[in-house]
């Protein structure tokens, strides 16, 4: 069978890793929010699309390459996310889960419809970095390679921030136990704002990367957010590193299932993985059981 030739397997692996890195960046932010404030942000994929449409506008109005617009969009979305947390999310933290679910679901609907008003339902794309790098018989898509690498760098950056800096430690402390963190003198509210801003910025960056790979429209978020839910459960709810593992795992498995079975099956993989992980390790790959 020609599919078992090494270069084809390698090709699938690379495609999967690159797609997985993008998933990881998106799901990482979602999980960070959940970890720190126990809020599932249903509007997360819409923040991603703000990034994508931002890149689209900057490209079409100023001719700005998405890699440069990353430098503009990411800080803006960070600030938006930072204050958005203060204005809306802070009010639903510590409320029953359903309250925050409904609130963010509402935000998602509003954002989608504002998007439809401004951009209509046409599919948009940013035609840069087309074609591929050829390494022998291997063709690595330029936009995917760039998007995958940028996503990876950003995710690792956020990881190092969380792991190495004082502020990052504070974020982890709040995630672990908000009250104890408060007693230790950490400004928990500030940390929550910071976390949400950071997560929104990550989603925005993922959106800019998405804009160079796929066509998108204001309703594109649904497919991504569903996969993200699966990823964070696979990786472990609230665990940032877990989401990275989960994202990459999903990307790779999707690619191989698409190759060996069919693309239709690849779309169901997220949920099959989800069920498998829940059966074998209910807390997810990196999760810990919580009371």
């Amino acid at each position: 069978m020609e599919l078992l030739e090494p270069e084809i397997l390698l090709q699938m692996l690379i495609n999967g890793l690159l797609a997985g890195a993008l998933y990881a960046l998106l799901a990482g932010g979602l999980n960070l929010i959940f970890g720190v404030m126990r809020v599932i942000n249903i509007a997360h994929a819409e923040f991603m699309l703000i990034g994508a449409f931002g890149a689209y506008v900057l490209f079409n109005v100023f001719g700005l390459h998405p890699l440069f617009s990353l430098l503009i969009i990411v800080p803006i979305i960070f600030v938006v996310g930072y204050y958005f947390q203060r204005v809306l999310i802070e009010r639903v933290v510590d409320r029953p889960m359903l309250t925050s679910l409904l609130a963010t679901y509402g935000v998602s609907i509003i954002l989608i419809n504002v998007g439809l008003l401004i951009f209509s339902s046409d599919f948009k794309s940013v035609p840069v970095l087309q074609g591929s790098f050829l390494i022998g018989d291997l063709a690595v898509s330029k936009p995917r390679a760039v998007a995958g690498l940028v996503s990876l760098v950003l995710s690792v950056g956020v990881y190092l921030f969380l792991d190495r800096t004082r502020l990052g430690k504070a974020v982890r402390a709040v995630s672990e136990h908000a009250q104890v963190a408060q007693i230790c003198g950490i400004d928990v509210r500030q940390i929550r704002m910071l976390t949400f801003g950071m997560a929104a910025a990550m989603a925005g960056a993922a959106g800019v990367m998405l804009s160079i790979i796929y066509s998108f429209w204001p309703g594109s978020g649904v497919d991504f957010i569903q996969k993200c839910f699966a990823i964070i459960i696979i990786g472990g709810m609230g665990n940032f590193v877990g989401a990275l593992y989960g994202g990459i795992l999903l990307g790779v498995v999707e690619s191989f299932v698409g190759g060996f079975i069919s693309t239709q099956w690849a779309e169901a993989v997220a949920y099959l993985l989800l069920v498998t992980v829940l059966l074998v390790r209910p807390t997810g790959l990196k999760g810990v059981a919580r009371a």
Binding site: F256, Q264, A266
Partner: protein
């Protein structure tokens, strides 16, 4: 006294409110439709609606239907069959429309036509071409489009004449793309060509890279897609990224639309597809419609807009022939009709299936799409073979 006055005032307003629908229905004919304004088929659905709206305007300028003003009621079915079915139920039972136009896409039409059939309500279908729709023995669904089965015939014949043998076939897992795929398989068998790769994908698929790797391994001469706009665009983009090469690339729907060229730029060059209609066809009123449409919407109409406009004309011709909007009379008129309008010939067989309209193949050449087959309608010569990615 004062309160009595306000009460009677209120009552009269209420009376007016209740009476008004009946009043307007007497001098207006209500036509109902649902089209995709959001979701995957949004782009094409919108065009269909815009074309139809232009017919509504024009028919009202001409003095309306049977001397009555035509009023359009339309909803957004979100590209979902189940929503479409609900909306047609609402149009028929709640809005009590007198005439029906079908939705866009074969799968939404499959669902909507079941509702129309249940109410025994004739429906002119503009945006559907899967033969499955007419294989159910229904008596109320009348197609405008050339059938999906025939979409790729000319292109496969072209491949055969160039000595090609291996076809890779990919298609979405819904009614119309499957219809196209059935047609491809039938034609390939007829001509003794081989389908070396076949795979379905979901409606939400955006990533075709795994499929492309496999097609590459099979070394297909022709890649044919039973697709819509977003998937055909995505596929070509990823085909370039993965350096997938074939002598002919052909897709349903996508390449027939201006957006295909906008989104892909130079990469659209040489890609073939189908069209139900082009403004360049020599049909009565086609040119005028295209010019007017372009002024209004800022771009050339694709065939979906033409179809919407044509559906209006078919409905008009049928109602005129029937002399009323009575369902039975309109149905009989639609079965008997043989007419040519700006969209082409309309003639159906005993199942309501379109048999009068030919298929056209298009190709992107020099940043424009041209009809290349059949020769009598062609505006340019076929460019063959597809230029390899590294020679562009």
């Amino acid at each position: 006294m004062k309160s009595r006055f306000s009460l009677s005032f209120l009552l009269s307003i209420l009376l007016f409110l209740f009476a008004s629908p009946a009043l307007t229905q007497n001098n207006e004919i209500h036509v109902g439709t649902s089209v995709a304004l959001t979701g995957k088929y949004a782009r094409t659905g919108q065009e269909q609606l815009q074309g139809f709206q232009m017919w509504v305007e024009e028919v009202n300028e001409r003095g309306g239907l049977l001397g009555k003003k035509v009023h359009l009621i339309h909803y957004d079915d979100e590209s979902k069959p189940e929503t479409g079915a609900k909306l047609y139920e609402k149009l028929i039972t709640d809005d009590k429309v007198q005439l029906l136009i079908g939705p866009y896409s074969s799968d939404v039409t499959l669902a909507a036509s079941t509702i129309a059939e249940k109410h025994n309500f004739p429906m002119v279908s503009s945006g559907a071409s899967s033969s499955e729709i007419w294989a159910r023995g229904y008596k109320n669904i009348f197609g405008l489009y050339t059938l999906a089965d025939l979409y790729m015939d000319q292109i496969i014949e072209l491949g055969k004449s160039k000595g090609l043998k291996k076809i890779a076939l990919v298609y979405e897992n819904t009614a119309f793309p499957r219809g196209v795929a059935e047609g491809v398989k039938r034609k390939a068998k007829e001509l003794g060509m081989q389908i070396v790769f076949e795979e379905e994908y979901g409606k939400a698929s955006t990533d075709f890279s795994s499929m492309i790797i496999k097609i590459k391994a099979k070394k297909a001469d022709m890649v044919i897609g039973g697709s819509y706009l977003p998937d055909s665009t995505g596929f070509m983009r990823q085909a370039k990224e993965a350096r997938l090469y074939a002598k002919i690339f052909a897709f349903a729907v996508g390449p027939g639309l201006p957006d295909f060229g906008h989104n892909l730029g130079l990469d659209a060059e040489g890609v073939m597809g189908n069209t139900q209609w082009e403004p360049t066809l020599k049909l009565p009123g086609a040119k005028e419609f295209a010019e007017k449409y372009k002024v209004r919407h800022g771009h050339e109409p694709g065939y979906h807009a033409g179809g919407g406009y044509g559906a209006g004309h078919v409905l008009e011709a049928a109602v005129k022939k029937a002399g009323s909007t009575d369902r039975d009379k309109v149905r009989a008129a639609l079965f008997a009709l043989d007419t040519v309008n700006a969209f082409g010939r309309f003639k159906v067989d005993a199942t309501g299936k379109q048999i009068g309209k030919p298929a056209y193949a298009v190709q992107w050449l020099g940043g424009e799409r041209h009809i290349v087959l059949p020769e009598e309608a062609a505006t340019a010569k076929v460019f063959y073979p597809f230029k390899d990615w590294n020679k562009r």
